[in-house]
């Protein structure tokens, strides 16, 4: 067994913020944050936090056909999970049907394949959409999946006004980090704004965008970059919605956020505290929101997939537990805990159950949920929170100077900042400056004996066959009419949502609707930043 090299020479957070040998009262910021529930909500958005209501335990899940995923959802709900979160496969994320040549080998692999309203109906069969909240991780084609969701709920007898849940619909972080984009930035931002506007009018309990730092962090950013780029993306969405003519307090209370929960325990807690503080100030100071619900940053957290290791996979249970603990202490409204086998494959049922139990043990056994912001007032944590705020503010100011996030993306600014940070991180693992247990230290030769979920290779064929039957059964005349109307609505700067809903209800497929929009908007090709 190889052991670690010893004690590091410099002490910093995972993101490189310096840490003093000891923090004392002299390190506290001049003004300590007010109690939880009070502006700027550094210590939490509710006065009593989890005493009032625990966070939502929401495991991101989806694979194969909608039939298979529906079974997994019912299982998760039967095990005490309190919300659903849909993982779509790559063809769905990229706006292709399962039978498109680009989908070869990908349908049903990384998530569930959804090609039409028919698939959405199957996905939620027996799951009451009027009562269960559903989060959907979908971005470029978000308006279409949102329309399918509304239509599927209507068929169950649930009205749009009853629907509660979240659409990720955060296109900016796609250009910055995750790279699942279809259209160029400007028409994409228009689609995001279409959804925000439509949702504000018709699904007032729904969160039309989940402004996401998770993927920025997974792409290799630091915690400060995750915080700064995410909040600055939020500013961009707010500006577009205001330009559309919405009033700030009409839509801002329904904006939500999604952050990573990474390895550095205190840095992560400081990040969530700084996020709430900065957002509250932005909303009140920059956008003059008056409704206090507009000031409150609500967030979902997911433990860091990129921290999970292939070597000694059981260690991942411990990593996930620590990360989840940081998210809960940091005041998350909703949480996904990763499964131990995710460096290998999508999680097995057994692994995902253990990940859910991890949350349940934190919630019901650890005592952590008894007290809001238990580290509030800590010399170290308050100092770190202030450092995170300041560093993130500097990044946001730079992006303002560049002319906003779209201009910054055009220049490749966030992309190259992230690429640099991820290379530095990898270098520190390579040199042993940073320790990853089981990877560059404490290795052993024991082979992992864990059960791995093997994908059912028949999903693509099943989906293709279902599409073939759908295309013969549906009224193709009304599909054509719907798509034609969508093209002209999209060209005419109208809100595309009503057109997309009509096309979806006529059982136009995801690929057909995305193609209609490709005709109008064109596609985006990035200049790669190394």
């Amino acid at each position: 067994m190889k052991t670690a090299a010893g004690i590091p020479k410099s002490f910093t957070t995972l993101s490189g913020l310096p840490i003093a040998p000891l923090y004392t009262p002299a390190d506290l910021p001049p003004d300590l944050p007010p109690p939880p529930g009070e502006f700027p909500y550094t210590r939490g958005i509710h006065p009593n936090m989890y005493r009032g209501r625990l966070w939502t335990m929401r495991q991101f899940s989806g694979f194969g056909t909608p039939e298979e995923t529906n079974e997994r959802y019912r299982y998760l709900l039967s095990q005490g999970q309190t919300g659903l979160s849909v993982a779509f496969d790559l063809p769905t994320l990229m706006g292709y049907d399962a039978d498109h040549p680009a989908s070869q080998g990908e349908a049903g692999k990384c998530g569930v394949s959804i090609c039409s309203l028919e698939d959405m109906e199957i996905l939620f069969r027996g799951i009451p959409l009027g009562r269960i909240t559903v989060s959907m991780t979908i971005n470029s084609p978000a308006p279409i999946l949102y329309a399918m969701y509304i239509a599927a709920a209507e068929q169950q007898g649930a009205s749009p006004a009853q629907l509660s849940g979240t659409l990720q619909n955060d296109i900016l972080k796609e250009y910055i980090a995750q790279k699942e984009f279809i259209y160029p930035p400007l028409p994409s931002m228009r689609l995001v704004t279409d959804v925000i506007e439509y949702s504000t009018r018709h699904t007032p309990r729904f969160h039309p965008v989940s402004i996401s730092g998770y993927h920025i962090r997974e792409a290799g950013s630091t915690a400060v970059q995750e915080l700064a780029f995410t909040l600055r993306d939020g500013v961009e969405y707010v500006e577009w919605a205001l330009k559309r003519g919405l009033a700030i307090d009409e839509f801002a209370p329904r904006l939500s956020f999604f952050f990573n929960a990474h390895n550095d325990f205190f840095e992560e807690i400081a990040k969530y505290r700084a996020a709430r503080t900065l957002w509250a100030r932005i909303m009140r100071g920059r956008f003059h929101a008056r409704d206090e619900r507009s000031w409150k940053l609500r967030f979902h957290a997911q433990t860091a997939g990129c921290s999970l290791t292939w070597q000694q996979p059981e260690n991942n249970i411990v990593r996930t537990t620590l990360q989840a603990l940081a998210a809960v202490i940091g005041g998350a409204q909703s949480l996904h805990t990763n499964s131990l086998d995710e460096a290998y494959a999508l999680p097995s049922e057994r692994a995902v159950t253990l990940a859910l139990r991890t949350q349940q043990i934190i919630a019901y056994e650890s005592g952590i949920a008894n007290e809001p912001d238990p580290f509030g007032g800590s010399y170290f944590l308050e100092n770190l929170t202030a450092q995170m705020e300041e560093a993130a503010q500097q990044y946001m100011d730079r992006i303002d100077e560049m002319g906003g996030m779209i201009a910054a993306i055009d220049r490749g600014f966030p992309q190259s900042e992230i690429a640099d940070a991820s290379y530095r991180y990898q270098h520190s693992i390579e040199t042993g400056e940073r320790i990853a247990a089981g990877v560059n230290a404490f290795q052993d030769d024991s082979n992992a004996q864990i059960e791995i979920l093997r994908m059912n290779e028949t999903s693509a064929n099943l989906q293709t066959e279902k599409l073939r039957r759908l295309r013969t059964r549906r009224d193709n005349g009304s599909v054509e009419t719907g798509l034609r109307a969508l093209r002209s609505g999209a060209s005419a700067q109208e809100n595309t949502m009503p057109y997309i809903l009509d096309a979806v209800r006529a059982y136009a497929t995801l690929g057909e609707i995305c193609d209609a929009l490709r005709d109008v908007f064109g596609i985006y090709q990035e200049r790669s930043v190394l």
């Binding site: 790559l90 063809p91 994320l93 990229m94 292709y96 680009a102 989908s103 070869q104 080998g105 990908e106 692999k109 990384c110 796609e174 995750q178 790279k179 699942e180 984009f181 997974e218 792409a219 290799g220 990129c306 290791t309 292939w310 070597q311 460096a343 290998y344 494959a345 690429a419 991820s422 290379y423 990898q426 390579e430 990853a436 990877v439 560059n440 791995i452 994908m455 090709q525 990035e526 790669s528 190394l530």
Partner: protein, 138 residues
């Protein structure tokens, strides 16, 4: 004069997670190789064409989406058809052991799974690249 090794780092399939591909591309460049990065969503045809045009000795494929069994055989066939079987093909990503063995059967030189060190990839390339006779005498 010593020739520099030319590597095409390619990202096939629909997946956009390019962190690994970019880190590898930089590491190979820092190790003195000439690196051409294709960018995202390259079809097997695009990758093989780029390899031909750029006259590379190595193709590094980054695949995290589980689509390797559909993508890699098509690339290997194209290389074979175009008489480019001497190009070293490396695959990196989430590739289960069982699949890694099958990919090697198809002619893939090495499969690097999560946690593989950059150094191990650099050394593998250095130790296994062979320049064609004609080109060495240039």
């Amino acid at each position: 004069m010593e020739r520099r090794i030319r590597v095409l780092v390619a990202k096939p399939g629909l997946d956009g997670h390019d962190r690994g591909a970019k880190v590898i591309a930089r590491a190979l460049r820092d190790a003195g190789m000439e690196v051409i990065y294709t960018g995202l969503r390259q079809t097997p045809e695009m990758i093989v064409n780029a390899a031909l045009q750029e006259d590379v000795q190595v193709i590094g494929l980054s695949i995290l989406s589980g689509a390797h069994n559909a993508i890699v055989p098509r690339i290997m066939n194209l290389l074979h058809e175009r008489d480019m079987s001497d190009v070293l093909v490396l695959v990196g990503g989430i590739i289960p052991d069982r699949d890694a063995a099958e990919l090697k059967q198809l002619g893939v030189s090495a499969v690097f799974q999560p946690g593989a060190s950059l150094e191990s990839i650099v050394s593998f390339i250095n130790e296994n690249v062979r320049f064609e006779e004609m080109q060495v005498s240039e």
